[in-house]
Amino acid sequence: MSGGPAEPVLEVRDLRTRFRSRGGSIEVVRGVDLTVAPAEMLGLIGESGSGKTVTGLSILRLLPDNAETTNTTLRFKGQDLDSLGEEQFRALRGRRLAMIFQNPVGAFNPAKRIDWHLREIIRRRTGQDARWSELARDALVAVGIPQPDRVLRLYPHQVSGGMAQRILIAMVLALEPDLIVADEPTTNLDNIVERQILALFRKLQSRLNAAFIFITHDMSVAAALCDRIAVMYAGQIVEVGPAHEIFEAPRHPYTQGLIATATALKQKAPRLKEIKGELPNLASPPPGCLFAPRCPQAMPQCQEREPPVHGEASHLVRCHLEAQA
């Protein structure tokens, strides 16, 4: 799928990730292409099990030992990531590429206080220790935490989910990366807190001028926040385009289904339109289009041939219907 006018921050082509297990191996990410422009907020949407988290982990080389990932291109700001050794890649992590996790409290070391965490982050950023407590306090204030001194002395288990997510954002802020992969950062938070955190994300983006890959299964969140949206299904991107186009005129049947469900929820419609069926078994995937078994607009060729990617430069769809139009 294509990139924007300036050099993209991230370019991914044909990303594939498999997991080896007792029974064999499963390809969870099946040829994902992504391009993220500088300071762009790209939403990555899909249901659980669609491979969105694994995509993020693959880009940051955070996969467990039993996983392997391949790609034809993986470029960060023009630099080929695959050519980097372990130590070189580690240098990039945090400083240039960062990740925000779904379970905020779980991301902290339970044996250490919050101030320890911030101090180590600051040390990573500046290489030195002086004035770390000032910087730590400032970082917490910047994300809207009242009483930063009190919070600094707390242990992670004493902090609420929303507060923890703020602190994590503060830590990422302190590192000033160029690309941030946020994996469902508000899923575990309640609505009020969620809105605050999302506002914080907007603030984060404008302050850092960083690019984001915002992973979520929640359409409304993506609508509120993202510039472009990529829809993922069964390890593949099925549609990608500007956010407003995706919402107002979705072209892939899966996307249409998602939008319809989200809209019905929002409008509290009496009947929820659901997408029938479940994700395909990736150990033995059906031939042709992976979505065909669930697709209300499926045609005979959908079960035979894999759908091609079609559309304009800024809005692409992986569907036979699109190809026909």
Binding site: F19, R22, T53, V54, N66
Partner: protein
């Protein structure tokens, strides 16, 4: 303990099981196959090193050590198993009742079990030998008493988990008596970890029995037990080290089998054996 990959994990369990099996067979059939009796003295062959005629050599009375070891292993295993069986039955019963009834019964019974558990195992065994008198049966009782709190606790904790399951509720509603519920609904579902614990318990029980007999307060000679034979061997260790060494080796062998087997069982039951396959 639970991250052995695939084949290796199964291999160790199999090795453990086979060793245990070999040991069992040897102990049951061995004595009958041996040409000697455990107390047959050959005065022409006192304290001789291992040879074809006597694979483990002879002791100071001219007795074939291998035969004695086989008979002794029988005794040790039986004693240990008896003690552990006692602990399992009574401990499980107590634990299940405590968990099922709850309240004061639970508190009291568990406090008692904890108290017993607080005593260092071997010291408690020694104490019991003094009180009850030395001898084989008392060793089994001592082992039983040492392991009782472990089974009581384990059974109690497992029963607490299982108590609220639907099939238990159903049985209660149908008016089944408590003993029946405990026996037929709860027990089968908590049996697995108890069995694992029992396997490991028998292994350590052998060590306790051997230790007590070695000191002279356990099984009394001339009845052979692994500890008794080692105590003999100790007397003339410098002149004839093979007696003690080979007997100890035999013990270690059996224990190795039991431990590997028990470990393997535990690994098999551990659901976290699966690798992390990504969120």
């Amino acid at each position: 303990m639970n991250s052995r990959h695939g084949l290796l994990g199964h291999a160790t369990t199999l090795i453990g099981a086979s060793i245990t099996l070999v040991a069992m067979v040897a102990v049951v059939i061995g004595p009958m196959l041996m040409p000697y009796g455990p107390n047959d003295s050959d005065f022409f062959d006192l304290l001789s090193p291992p040879s074809w005629a006597h694979p483990f050599g002879t002791d100071s009375f001219g007795r074939d050590v291998l035969t004695r070891v086989l008979y002794g292993a029988r005794v040790s295993l039986v004693v240990s198993a008896a003690g552990v069986a006692l602990a399992t039955i009574i401990g499980t019963a107590v634990g299940m009742v405590a968990a099922y009834k709850g309240g004061y019964a639970d508190l009291l019974l568990m406090r008692f079990a904890d108290l017993l558990f607080a005593f260092p195992a071997f010291v408690l065994a020694l104490f019991l030998m003094v009180v009850l008198g030395f001898g084989t049966i008392n060793v089994a009782l001592a082992i039983g008493l040492i392991y009782f709190p472990i089974f009581a606790r384990l059974a109690r904790n497992m029963t607490l988990l299982v108590r609220e399951e639907p099939y238990v509720q159903a049985a209660r509603l149908m008016g089944q008596s408590t003993p029946r519920i405990l026996l037929r609904e709860i027990l089968p579902n908590i049996a697995a970890p108890l069995i694992v614990q029992a396997t490991i318990g028998i292994a350590f029980g052998i060590i306790i029995e051997a230790g007590l007999s070695f000191l002279g307060v356990g099984v009394q000679p001339p009845t052979p037990s692994l500890g008794v034979i080692m105590a003999d061997g100790r007397e003339y260790f410098q002149r004839g080290p093979w007696v003690l060494t080979l007997t100890g080796l035999a013990i270690s062998f059996v224990l190795l089998g039991l431990n590997l087997f028990g470990d393997g069982l535990r690994d098999l039951m551990d659901p976290r054996l699966r690798e992390r396959t990504g969120q």
